[in-house]
């Protein structure tokens, strides 16, 4: 396939660590093939920086196939950039035009402190899971997998919620830095399955309490999270979360 080369201007957030203030730094990148991924474009820039004695830009990434949830980046005001239902690592340079200026920022949220440049600490998500995002079953206790049939619609809806890759785009997209879409996906995944039933009430109460403790903001139902989610997690999960929370609150001991 024929491809084009692009010359671009980048405005990248640089910040040495959590204790220093950061600033935008401008870079020119030239002869970028539009077949490259966005992260490969940053690789090219970093190689140039290293050879000229500058520090490369730190950004998180790992699988580069849209599933590990490690990559982030707020690109031109959108988490994971301009393509819908997409992660930054799967964004390709044909999304841009020659001469474009691209602004690149880290996830912006108090609950995700900056580690360096574009890298943030998303440990808050792990702590929310620790608060109750599991089924309390020890290895070796399980009965036969087919002993408990599960309605296919529920199994499919549970799976649709479980597709969450924990990247944090929903938090970054939200003007309040709310983690409700993430939490709702986690609560829905287990609330829709019979295995999740015994701990259904305590799970939602404890996970919501931990979310609040981490400093995430409130949900005002703007839907920005759903629009930014690379796995198209539905905002209907937030409605289910609210129902689960009310139900637990009204019927708890």
């Amino acid at each position: 396939m024929a491809h084009n080369n692009l010359n671009l201007k980048l405005k990248v957030w640089r910040q040495k660590n959590a204790n220093t203030t950061g600033a935008f730094v401008k870079y020119d990148v030239n002869d970028i093939s539009d077949e490259m991924s966005f992260l490969e474009m940053l690789d090219v820039l970093n190689e140039k920086l290293i050879v000229t004695g500058e520090e490369p830009i730190a950004f998180d990434h790992d699988c580069r196939e849209g599933i590990c949830g490690m990559c982030s980046l707020y690109i031109d005001g959108k988490p994971h950039g301009p393509w819908e239902a997409n992660t930054t690592c799967q964004l390709h340079m044909r999304a841009f035009k020659d001469g474009d200026t691209i602004t690149i920022e880290p996830w912006r949220s108090n609950a995700f402190p900056i580690v360096k440049d574009l890298t943030v600490d998303r440990g808050a998500f792990d702590r929310i899971i620790q608060a109750g995002g599991y089924v309390s079953v020890n290895t070796g206790n399980a009965v036969d997998g087919n002993s408990l049939p599960i309605n296919k619609d529920n199994a499919d809806a549970s799976f649709a919620a479980a597709m969450c890759i924990g990247c944090g785009a929903c938090v970054a997209a939200c003007k309040n830095s709310s983690a409700m879409l993430f939490l709702s996906a986690k609560v829905s995944h287990l609330a829709l399955l019979p295995q999740g039933e015994p701990e259904r009430k305590s799970r939602v109460l404890n996970m919501v309490a931990q979310m609040d403790k981490e400093g995430f903001g409130s949900c005002t139902n703007t839907g920005a999270c759903e629009a930014a989610c690379p796995k198209e997690i539905s905002i209907a999960n937030i409605a289910r979360l609210n129902k689960e929370y009310l139900r637990a609150g009204l019927t708890a001991e």
Binding site: M1, H3, K16, N17, S33, D34, E35, S37, E40, D43, E47, I50, V51, P56, A58, D60, D62, C63, R64, E65, I67, C68, M70, N86, Q90, H92, R94, V115, K116, D121, F125, D126, I129, Q130, G133, Y134, V135, V137, T139, G140, A142, V143, G145, N146, L148, P149, I150, N151, K152, A155, D156, S158, F159, A162, M163, I165, H189, L193, Q195, G196
Partner: protein
């Protein structure tokens, strides 16, 4: 000869007997015993969670920002288990047999049979954790078929089985973190094993945020750190996947087994240019409906759709009429390479073949016409109906292909080429998953034990979880039962101090080279050497050249690499430099191993050893052994052999014609 300590007795009774007689550690003692788990993929997360549940004090380490991100997450297809839910003749024995045969008779019978035995428990455990496997309308679990088998035994969760299984194990792990049984160290990398009196007693880890070195004591160290496919630079592995933990163990005396056994997956999106950082897999399931071809004429530059049917060479169907496009991975990969090397490749790089869905689209379209009872349907309408069916089956893969290549695979054939995907080799372990260094274990892809010279699809997830959930909780206790008399060793012990100093010195040396070339540029050059000379096909002359080239590259790396930034800060370039330095040394050993194995088997294809029609030619008389390498000095290794005894299965030549 190495002793794998496989229990005596009948094959199907070995594991049962072992479990009935192994030593136990009582709950009060478990609470006093610290155990270190490095890596939190399927093997590590399942092991850390299970050991925490048993009461051990577990310390778990991963280099990612969260244990949920380990590369097990990227597995697409599924996980095998001998449930026989389909009533199609599956059994523990059949899963065992398929795995041994798929591995081209280079795996251990005892281990593989145990794997097949516990496979059913894995599915039950995952369901109990809330893993949302695909289900039928009756509410029961769904299965599909995979390569190398004649039964449907693969359980799956759409195209992201790996992520769902890992989330299950991760959630179990986080539960133990909440209960205080597991301490999690994310963004930490293990940089050495600490040995005291010949036993593994801890690790040196580097906090990747601050750059500080930490000393951690443990009664045992479990390495669950995955495979080493990134030695090739380009692979389907995650960018961070590395051999460092396993290599450090090797440098501390652990044998590295069958390093040259690597799996090249036939259907990946081809390389598009020098900028390429990683390769993306297109699931094996596509070969059910796609037909693979190249032009019949050399150097044919026409567009795919302009090449008429009679001028296309469906080379797999031609060479392997019985299995056609569904031959095993190693066979399909070699056939693609053969065509491209002979000048028939397609695309700008000429290093690609077509995977074409046109025939499937038309076939499905016609089926829809008859299903829906339509008449007077135009060809265009048939094609439109067929595309709908294909979209439902493979839509997410077609979308991913379109994003990466900018081409529409509904209109033009996909271009594919083989890519490095999995490594069957790894640290040598005995039946208990213990390396030859007492107290040091290797689980999952990091060990060598179950897949022989070629792994079957949907078996990697099975092995990782078998090792972590159902094997190591028993075998670890058997060894730790003797350790209860020994007090924990403080990390002020001279052995810890010395290990920490050695790690710090190495980092300082690396950082102070202050050369001119980036880490990445060395990694790329290493990858090219290994791919060209120790990739899909190897020969003695090429391997000898590769060894010399890698040795020279090592010298150049240690005199001219440039690492920006500081040691005591978040510095991904420094992390990468450490890993690439280890990959270079491993690369040499892979070539040494490939050169010593004068036969072809599974993924190891030595050009000198092939049948007249180009198939792998095994030499069971001389090479039916595991090659376990001991490091004896710079560029020097000693070979230890573990004889493979086939007591139940009779090895034969694989035939797919």
């Amino acid at each position: 000869m190495l002793n794998a300590k496989i229990p005596a007795g009948k094959l199907e009774e070995k594991w049962v007997d072992y479990k009935g007689h192994c030593k136990l550690v009582n709950p009060a003692n478990k609470r006093k015993m610290e155990v270190i788990v490095v890596g939190t993929g399927l093997a590590g997360a399942s092991a850390a969670a299970s050991l925490g549940e048993l009461g051990y004090k577990v310390k778990a380490f991963c280099f990612q920002d969260s244990p949920r991100r380990a590369h097990s997450i990227a597995a697409q297809g599924g996980i095998n288990a001998a449930k026989n839910y389909q009533n199609d003749g599956d059994s523990v024995f059949r899963l065992f047999y398929d795995t041994i045969k798929g591995g081209d008779y280079r795996a251990r019978e005892g281990n593989v049979h145990r794997l097949a035995e516990v496979s059913s428990n894995i599915i039950d455990q995952c369901v109990a954790q809330g893993v949302p496997f695909a289900r039928e309308y009756g509410g029961l679990l769904s299965n599909r078929s995979f390569g190398g088998t004649q039964v449907q035994r693969t359980f799956y969760a759409a195209g992201q089985t790996g992520q769902q299984l890992l989330i299950g194990a991760y959630q179990a792990l986080e539960r133990q973190v909440a209960l205080g049984n597991v301490t999690m160290y994310a963004r930490h990398e293990m940089l050495d094993v600490v040995k005291i009196d010949g036993k593994a007693k801890g690790i040196i880890a580097r906090n990747l945020i601050t750059g500080e070195l930490e000393k951690h004591f443990g009664y045992a160290v479990l390495l669950c750190t995955g495979g080493y496919g990134n030695v090739f630079y380009l692979s389907t592995n995650a960018m961070g996947s590395n051999v460092t933990a396993a290599w450090k163990a090797h440098k501390q005396g652990a044998y590295f087994a069958n390093p040259c056994f690597t799996q090249i997956h036939p259907t990946c999106i081809p390389v598009s240019g020098d900028h390429q950082s990683k390769l993306t897999l297109m699931s094996e399931s596509l070969r059910n409906d796609g037909r693979i071809w190249v032009p019949k004429a050399k150097g044919d530059n026409r567009k795919s759709i302009d090449i008429p049917e009679e001028e296309r060479d469906y080379y797999l169907e031609r060479r392997y009429p019985a299995f056609g496009n569904l031959v095993p991975r190693d066979v399909a990969s070699r056939a693609a390479k053969e065509r491209c090397d002979a000048g028939y490749g397609v695309g700008t790089s000429k290093q690609a073949v077509y995977l074409d869905f046109a025939a499937a689209i038309e076939r499905y379209g016609k089926t829809e016409v008859s299903k829906q009872g339509l008449s007077n349907v135009s060809h265009e309408e048939i094609i439109a109906l067929g595309k709908e069916v294909v979209k439902e089956k493979y839509g997410n893969l077609f979308d991913m292909y379109a994003k990466i290549t900018g081409e529409n695979p509904y209109e033009v054939p996909m271009r594919i080429y083989p890519a490095v995907h999995y490594t069957m080799g790894g640290l040598w372990v005995d039946y208990e998953l213990q390396t030859n260094v007492p107290g040091l274990y290797a689980l999952g892809e990091a060990n060598f034990s179950d897949h022989g010279a070629n792994r079957l699809g949907a078996s990697a997830l099975m092995q990782g979880l078998a090792d972590g959930y159902f094997v190591v909780p028993y075998t670890l206790g058997n060894n730790l039962a003797d350790e209860i008399y020994n007090a924990p060793i403080p990390t002020s012990h001279p052995a810890f101090e010395a290990a920490e100093k050695a790690v710090a010195d190495r980092i300082n040396t690396l950082k102070n080279i202050n050369g001119k070339q980036s880490v990445e540029s060395f990694h790329k050059r290493l990858g090219k050497i290994i791919w060209d000379k120790c990739g899909m096909a190897r020969n003695a002359e090429g391997l000898k050249q590769a060894i010399a080239e890698v040795q020279a590259l090592k010298k150049e790396f240690w005199s001219d690499v440039r690492i920006p930034g500081e040691i005591n800060e978040f510095n991904p370039e420094l992390d990468k430099a450490n890993r690439v330095a280890d990959f270079i040394e491993l690369g040499e050993l892979m070539c040494v191993d490939a050169l010593a194995r004068d036969e072809s088997c599974g993924g190891h294809f030595r050009e000198e050893y092939q049948t007249p029609d180009g198939e792998a030619l095994r030499d069971d008389e001389n090479f039916m052994y595991v090659a376990a390498w001991e490091t004896t000095g710079e560029h020097e290794w000693a070979l230890h052999k573990e004889e493979l005894k086939y007591e139940v299965i009779k090895p034969s030549q694989r035939n797919y014609k």
